[in-house]
Amino acid sequence: MDLKEKLLSSFMAFEERVDVDSDLHEVRTEAIKNFETKGFPTKKEEAWKYTSLNAVLKNDFSVFPKKENVVEYADVKKYFIHEIDTYKVVLIDGVFSSFLSSTTHEGVDICLMSSALTKPKYKEIVDTYFNKIANTEDSLTSLNTAFASEGAYINIPKGKIVDKPIEIMCFSTGNEAALMVQPRNLVIVGENAQVQIIERHQSLNGNPVLTNAVTEIFVQERAVVDYYKIQNDLQSANLVDNTYIAQKANSNASVHTFSFGGNITRNNLNFYHQGERVESTLKGITIIGDKQLVDHYTLVQHAEPNCESHQNYKGIFDDNATGVFNGKIYVEKEAQKTDAFQQNNNILLSDKATINAKPQLEIFADDVKCSHGCTIGQLDDNAMFYMQSRGIPQREAKALLMYAFSNEVIESIRIPELKNRITKLIASKLGVSMGFDL
C-alpha cells in the first residue's frame, strides 16, 4: 500500500476517534477530498519542479504514533534556547508533552491545538480563524488539515506584549521505524500586540521522518510578530513547512528561516496583505552540503496600497547539495505605492552543488517600486587573499567570508540569545572555531 492509500484509509480510522458531527469535521472531510484528488506533488508541477518527494514517500511511514514516548529534558535541552526563559509547546512524535512544555493561560493563551479544537470555549475563535488563510487548494496543506489535531495554539489579545519568546518544538524519537507527523499551529496576534516565536523540528535518531507542518498566523492592526524557524535536522529528516500569514493594516511580520540540515526541506512561506501600510520581512540563511536540499518557495501577495515587503535569502551550498529559491511577488491592481524588494545571493562551494533561483514578479499596479536581484558565485579570491595575508588560514578565512556573507540576515535577529545560537551554529556548520564568538 503506498503512502497516499495508507493516509486515506487512516483517515477513516481517524474519524472514529473524533467528533464527526462538528463543523471542524466538514473542514477535514473537504481537505481529505482535495488531497485524494491531487495526491502528493510531483516534479511535473511547476511549483515542485526541482524538488522530488518520490524517494521519501517510499518509506513505510507510521501515521499515528505511539502515545507514550518519553524524552528526558537533559537529552534535548540543547535544542531549546535554554539560556533564557521561554514559553514552550513541545510535541513528541506529534503528541503533546506536558512534561517538556511550559504553557500559559494568564492574559494570553499559549497552549495546545488539541484543546482549542475540542473545547467549546475556543470554538468561536477556531471557526473564525482555523484554515481561513491556509491554501485549501494545496494538497499537502489539505492533508495536514484533514489530520489536524495537535500543535501550538497561540492567542495574544489586543495590546499585549508577550514577556518572553515562545518555542514550538517538535521532536521525533525514532521509536517508530519511520514516522510521518503533521503538526498544526494557529497563531492570532491581536491589535497592537507583540510576540516572538521560535519553531524547530528535530529528530533524535536516524529513522526516517516526514513532517508536513502547517502554521497559520493572523496579525491584526499594528501588531508585531517575529517568527524564527531553525532547521538543523538529521539527514533522515524531511520537512515540508507551510506557513500562511495574514496581515492587517500597519502590522509588521517577519519570518527568518535558518536551514542548516535535513534531507529535504521545503519552505512554503506565504504572506497576504489585508490592510494598508503593512510591512513583511522574509529572510533566510541556508548552509548545506552532502546531498541535502533546501527549497524556499515564497509568496507575497500585495493586495493593498502603501505596503512594503523585504526578502533577503542567502545560500551556501557545498558537495552535492541543491538549493531552490522561488520567490513570487504578486502586486494587485489596488496595491499602488507598493515597495517590494527581493534579494537572493548564493555561493557554490563545489562543482556539484546546484542552485535553482527563480524570481517571479507579477505586477498589475502602475505606481510601484519592485526590485529583485539574484547572484550566484564563488567566494571572492581577493577577499580570501586579504585575510590570508593577515595570517588567517584558508579554512578560517573561508568561514569568516561566509559569515560576512550571511551577516545581513543575522543582524536582524531580535532575540540576542538566538542570534548567538545561530552564529554558533553557523561556525560549527563551517567547521571552525574562531578566536571570538562569530
Partner: protein, 248 residues
C-alpha cells in the same frame, strides 16, 4: 632580511615580472616606483603569496629561508605584511575581532598560546592611540563603509598590531588627502626600527616626502631598470616616466 633573486612571474600566459633582483636589509626603507602596468602591484602580491600568479623562476628569501612555496598565511606568520591598495570589506566582523583572529592564528602557527584578553586590549589601545584611531572605529565592521583614508589607516593599524618584519605598502597614498597621508606616514615612521624593513610601492613621489626612503627603484616592464637614493624619486617627479621609457 628580504632577498629577491631573478624573480619571474606570470599570470596565465602573460609574463609580468621578468627577473627582479632586490636586497632589503633590516632597518631600511625601499621605494618602488614606476608607471602604471609596470608590475608594481604584481611584485607585492607575489611576495605576499597570491596564488593567481605563477612564479616561473627565481627566489624570495626571508631571513635566509625560501618562502616562495609558502601559502600567504604562512608568509604572514613569518613576518610578511602587505597593506592593500583596495582593502576588502568584511561585514559583521569587527576590526577588533579580525585582529584577535589574525594575531591568535599567527601565535597558534608558532606553537604559542592565544594572547590573553587583557594583553590584547592593551595592545589594541596602544596601537590605536598611536594612529589616532577612535575606539568606536574598532567595533565597526572591518572596512565596511570606511572612507578611503579610514581604510588605509586601518591597514597601518593592522601592520602595527602584527609587527611584521617586512611591510609592503601597496599604493598606500592613493585616495588619501594630505591630512590622512600625514597620519598614515607618521604611523609607518613610528613602526620603523632596526629590526624591520619597509617597501613602499607608489606611483607618485609625494608619499616619499613623509616616509623617506633609503633606496628608490624604478620598475618598468617587469624589471628594475634604475636604482638610486631618495633623490631619484625627485628626478622622476621632475622628468616623468617618459624619461625611463625612452631609455629602455
Amino acid at each position: 632580511m628580504l632577498s629577491i633573486k631573478n624573480l619571474h612571474a606570470r599570470v596565465e600566459d602573460k609574463e609580468i615580472l621578468k627577473g627582479i633582483n632586490l636586497e632589503v636589509k633590516a632597518g631600511e626603507v625601499h621605494a618602488i616606483m614606476g608607471p602604471n602596468g609596470s608590475g608594481k602591484s604584481t611584485l607585492s602580491s607575489v611576495i605576499a603569496g597570491k596564488e593567481d600568479y605563477e612564479v616561473t623562476d627565481g627566489e624570495i628569501i626571508l631571513e635566509g629561508e625560501d618562502i616562495g612555496e609558502l601559502a600567504p598565511e604562512e608568509r604572514a606568520h613569518k613576518g610578511v605584511f602587505l597593506s592593500f591598495q583596495y582593502p576588502v570589506e568584511i561585514p559583521g566582523v569587527s576590526v577588533t575581532n579580525f585582529m584577535k583572529t589574525a594575531i591568535n592564528e599567527s601565535r597558534k602557527a608558532k606553537g604559542q598560546d592565544e594572547m590573553p584578553a587583557n594583553e590584547m586590549l592593551k595592545l589594541i589601545r596602544e596601537k590605536s592611540e598611536m594612529l589616532e584611531i577612535d575606539r568606536k572605529f574598532l567595533s565597526r565592521s572591518l572596512n565596511e563603509g570606511f572612507s578611503g583614508g579610514e581604510k588605509k589607516r586601518n591597514e597601518i593599524f593592522q601592520m602595527a598590531m602584527l609587527e611584521p618584519k617586512v611591510a609592503i605598502l601597496d599604493e598606500t597614498d592613493s585616495g588619501l588627502d594630505i591630512d590622512a597621508l600625514r597620519i598614515v606616514a607618521n604611523g609607518v615612521n613610528k613602526l620603523r626600527s632596526e629590526d624591520n624593513a619597509v617597501i613602499v610601492i607608489t606611483h607618485y613621489q609625494r608619499l616619499l616626502d613623509y616616509i623617506v626612503p633609503d633606496f628608490v627603484h624604478v620598475l618598468y616592464n617587469g624589471k628594475i631598470v634604475k636604482s638610486g637614493g631618495k633623490e631619484l624619486a625627485l628626478e622622476l617627479e621632475e622628468k616623468g616616466y617618459d624619461w625611463i621609457k625612452s631609455e629602455n
